[in-house]
Amino acid sequence: MSPPTDGEITALVLAARDGDAAAWDALVDLLSPRTRAVIRSFRLNQADTDDVFQLTWLRLVSNLDRLREPGRVGSWLATTASHECLRLLRKAGRQAPGDDGWEDDLVDNGRDVDDGLLVSERDRALWQAMGMLSAPCQRLLRLLAADPAPSYLEVAEVLTMPIGSIGPTRSRCLDHLRTHFTRITAGPEGSSR
């Protein structure tokens, strides 16, 4: 799916404000993958992930008329979702990304994943490699891999990173991913290359 423009998003928000349910559905379809990617990056359990996802969209329903910049509703959703994820982590007395003690390595990306869904060895290896990345890299790549992908501006807002550092960080993270991936696919002996 090609990324929607701010203009397209604005048009959908304005139509939804006028009560157009089809425009609302289109917004949900376009922005759900990246909203979910944001929530996933906080490593909540499945029930909490689903709760925050639903809450975020309901908050948009109630705040639709108050959005100052309708074209940036993607950022609004991401911010709302992040806020609620942090709240749930605090409520449970758990660490949040950036806190001392947040386990930065070995994020289990595939905790709830049924291995049967990974159709090829290559997929499996890539997913496994993804799980070996640092949390910040996983967060960035999960966001960038949402379909359709968010803009760098939106990614910068969500991850509170300078927009100029996204490109270089993306490169670095993909490099790490590639290294892990190559190592995994090199087989049990592992040192062949």
């Binding site: 109630s62 705040n63 997929d123 949402a146």
Partner: protein, 169 residues
Amino acid sequence: MNTFDNDNHAADDSGGTSDAADDELLDELRAVVSRVDPVSPEMLAAARSGFIWRTIDAELAQLTSDSVLDADRMAAVRGASTPVLLTFESAGLTVEVETTKGVDGARLLGQLVPAQRGRVEIRHGGGTTTVDADDLGRFTAGGIQPGPVSLSCRTEAGALQVDTDWFLV
């Protein structure tokens, strides 16, 4: 794995070939994510159907105080059984709610401010539960399904309708 063999220096610079290889790898990752961890049809349906809650005639009471975040500042003890106190404010009405987790769902203890009689419609995943607020503006409800909740309050005197923003119980 020839595609990746010559890319150990990919992050060094923005050369054309490594950019293309990066794009390719990210595309591949995108395909894997959409297969392995997609937005479920149920979640998409839930997000779509939320639109039915859109009301234009009710005033929105926004969350202005949340004990979870306050407690964090004070480094207080917290846990799943600690009650959560939320305050929602609109121009005409303030709604205070305390939520507690119970065995058969959450329990709500609420207060309309200024104190007055009214009717409170609690919208939650299990449907809608309607309770009355007494002369002092107090109301209670049990068996609220965990998940997103919103309170639609109609005051008896002014026939004012105020909906709280959604929150998780």
